[in-house]
């Protein structure tokens, strides 16, 4: 009952938010929700299975591309789900072959694939003679915020529920001991591929929404590897084992972004790198894990 109440409270607060604040804070809220959606989706795959994806920008970018291609052709309400579907389809195609590769190789493989797709889109766009596409007449900031609110809540609920489901137990079993999981009857290949697809759907839709916010599609921008890097950092800082982690991580990094990004982008990036290293080395369970440990008292 408690999580459901929290969800309804968050929905209520989110729906009221656009009426309470000005455009600037609404924009900050939108980017917070965007990061929550992305980081939750990432946790669903990488946090639970231990297969660290450094290429989630590919799903975001593909979603944005689908939106840019379909813009003014079909309704927004068709284009956004299609963007998610396209990302899911890409994950389905990539899932089986990629998830056979483990550990650090999976990490660099996902990175490589994201870059590969980026340069293919760049080449296609150059072949079509386009240098960026303008997306005029998009919905208002309030509408985008509300859509993103739904995506963020869905992603959060998905991570929360998955973590507590039979499927989630299978994912975590794979993280802890893949061979043993297979032995006790988990169809490892299918489970991993399913998680991969699930973690791609929402980033695709997020990309579609955010490209409308920027009103401009440029492949190098939407497929930016920095996006993947930030998602990972955020989830690691917050804690990547359960739904509260990405919320904390996103809150923390959006705050940091507002403080530093505009005035000192390099300092911001350096801090991000330091935080990532620090958390991986000294606090791998993240802020959420640390808080949880405090509230439960010392481990027996």
């Amino acid at each position: 009952m408690k999580p459901a109440a929290a969800l309804i409270a968050a929905l209520g607060l989110g729906l009221a938010y656009p009426f309470l604040v000005g455009d600037y804070l609404l924009g900050v809220g939108l980017s917070f929700l965007m990061w929550v959606s992305l980081a939750q989706s990432w946790v669903l795959l990488s946090g639970l299975t231990g297969y660290i994806s450094l290429g989630h920008a590919v799903f975001y970018g593909l979603g944005a591309y689908v939106m840019a291609l379909l813009w003014t052709q079909v309704s927004l309400w068709v284009a956004i789900p299609l963007a998610g579907l396209a990302a899911g389809l890409l994950a389905l195609v990539l899932g089986y072959p990629c998830l056979r590769v483990r550990g650090p190789y999976f990490v660099i493989l996902t990175f490589g694939i994201a870059e590969f797709v980026k340069y293919i889109v760049v080449a296609i766009e150059a072949g079509l003679g386009k240098s960026g596409r303008l997306l005029f007449g998009g919905p208002s900031l309030e509408t985008l915020f509300t859509i993103m609110l739904v995506l963020a809540l869905t992603a959060t609920a998905a991570t929360y529920l998955t973590r507590r489901s039979r499927f989630g137990v299978a994912l975590r079993a794979i993280r802890e001991e893949e061979t043993a999981s297979e032995t006790i009857g988990i169809s490892v290949g299918q489970v991993k591929a399913l998680a991969f697809v699930a973690s791609a759907l929402i980033p695709g839709m997020v990309g579609a929404v955010m490209v409308l916010r920027s009103t401009y599609f440029e492949p190098l921008q939407v497929f930016n590897p920095f996006l993947s890097f930030t998602i990972v950092t955020m989830a690691i800082i917050g804690g990547s084992d359960d739904a509260p982690g990405p919320l904390l991580g996103a809150l923390f990094l959006v705050g940091l972004t507002e403080l530093l990004w505009a005035s000192a982008p390099q300092v911001y990036m350096i801090l991000l790198g330091l935080l990532l290293i620090g958390f991986v080395l000294f606090l791998p369970e993240g802020l959420a894990g640390r808080l949880l440990r405090f509230s439960r008292g010392p481990a027996p």
Binding site: V107, I108, G112, I120, A123, E177, I277, P284
Partner: protein
């Protein structure tokens, strides 16, 4: 057919391949002895390139001399990274090895971001280049920049020295022993900690050297190292992870694919080509073309 036999392209392949061999050797050493994939390797190269650039621009010292400075600085960085990041990581737990490896990759990724932005903060993100030995030499219908010939000469010499080092010197043999038999190496009295430290210093210094060489012909920017990281990955995966001689073969193979691929299509497809090979190799033959250890 004509294009394949063109001396110009063969020479270009040799030059690029010899640089890749240097870059990849450092990465391979560190991977082989410690199973750590140093994603910040390209940034180390970039720092070496900046040393050469500033030595030339401010002090009028040519890269053939400043490359020693570049090696000293990046070697020192290797010492610091091992001492302050890696040792803690290796010592710090009985966790599943695989997860440490994935985590170590995140740490090096963080390092790479930090270095890129530190350099960008200090020297701006502008692309920089300087003219050095840029006269063209012609022989038998082939024309090539003198700078490229120098790069080829130095890289091949250093690779040769490295091969001799790994064959005949005690330290080189100890490094190879660690690569091939980590546990047994300790049994025969190899100090893993000391050799690992040397590996980091040597690996980083090789990247710094490659950077100083590359600065003669390429524009450098804080972000110009990363493509070399990717190329070095492709090379060592092609040649077999931890396999030092395979890496040499992989270097010339990748250089050939890149040079001929671009010559046959267009330079716009270079990144697609390199990443394509990268993905294909990881998916289909992660143990490398020469076989060797399987990745799991």
């Amino acid at each position: 057919m004509e294009i394949i036999l063109s001396g110009q392209l063969v020479l270009a392949t040799l030059v690029l391949g010899s640089v890749y061999a240097l870059v990849a050797m450092g990465l391979n050493l560190i991977y082989g002895t410690m199973r750590l994939l140093n994603v910040a390797h390209g940034e180390i190269l970039m720092i070496g390139a900046y040393v050469a650039y500033w030595a030339f621009t401010l002090l009028q010292i040519g890269p053939l001399i400043s490359l020693f400075g570049a090696m000293a600085l990046t070697g020192g960085l290797g010492w610091a990274v091992y001492r302050f990041l890696v040792r803690g990581l290796l010592a710090g737990s009985g966790e599943i090895v695989q997860r440490i490896e994935a985590n170590s990759l995140l740490i090096f990724f963080g390092l790479s971001i930090i270095l890129q932005n530190l350099i960008s903060l200090a020297f701006t993100a502008n692309e920089r280049a300087y003219p050095y030995l840029d006269q063209v030499i012609r022989f038998g219908g082939i024309s090539i920049g003198a700078d490229r010939l120098v790069i080829l000469g130095i890289s091949l010499t250093v690779s040769l020295i490295a091969i001799l080092f790994f064959r005949y010197s005690m330290t080189g043999l100890a490094m190879r022993a660690l690569i091939e038999q980590r546990e047994a190496a300790a049994l025969v009295g190899i100090e893993r900690d000391r050799v690992s430290l040397l590996v980091f210093i040597l690996g980083f210094a090789l990247a710094g050297l490659a950077g100083a060489l590359i600065s003669m012909t390429e524009q450098i920017s804080p972000f110009s190292g990363f493509p070399f990281t990717i190329a070095a990955f492709v090379v060592i995966i092609l040649g077999g992870l931890g396999n030092l001689y395979g890496g040499l073969l992989g270097a010339f193979l990748l250089a050939g694919i890149e040079v001929y691929g671009v010559a046959l299509t267009s330079s716009a497809y270079r990144s697609i080509l390199v990443y394509g090979v990268f993905i294909a190799v990881l998916l289909w033959r992660p143990q490398g073309l020469l076989g060797g250890k399987r990745i799991s």
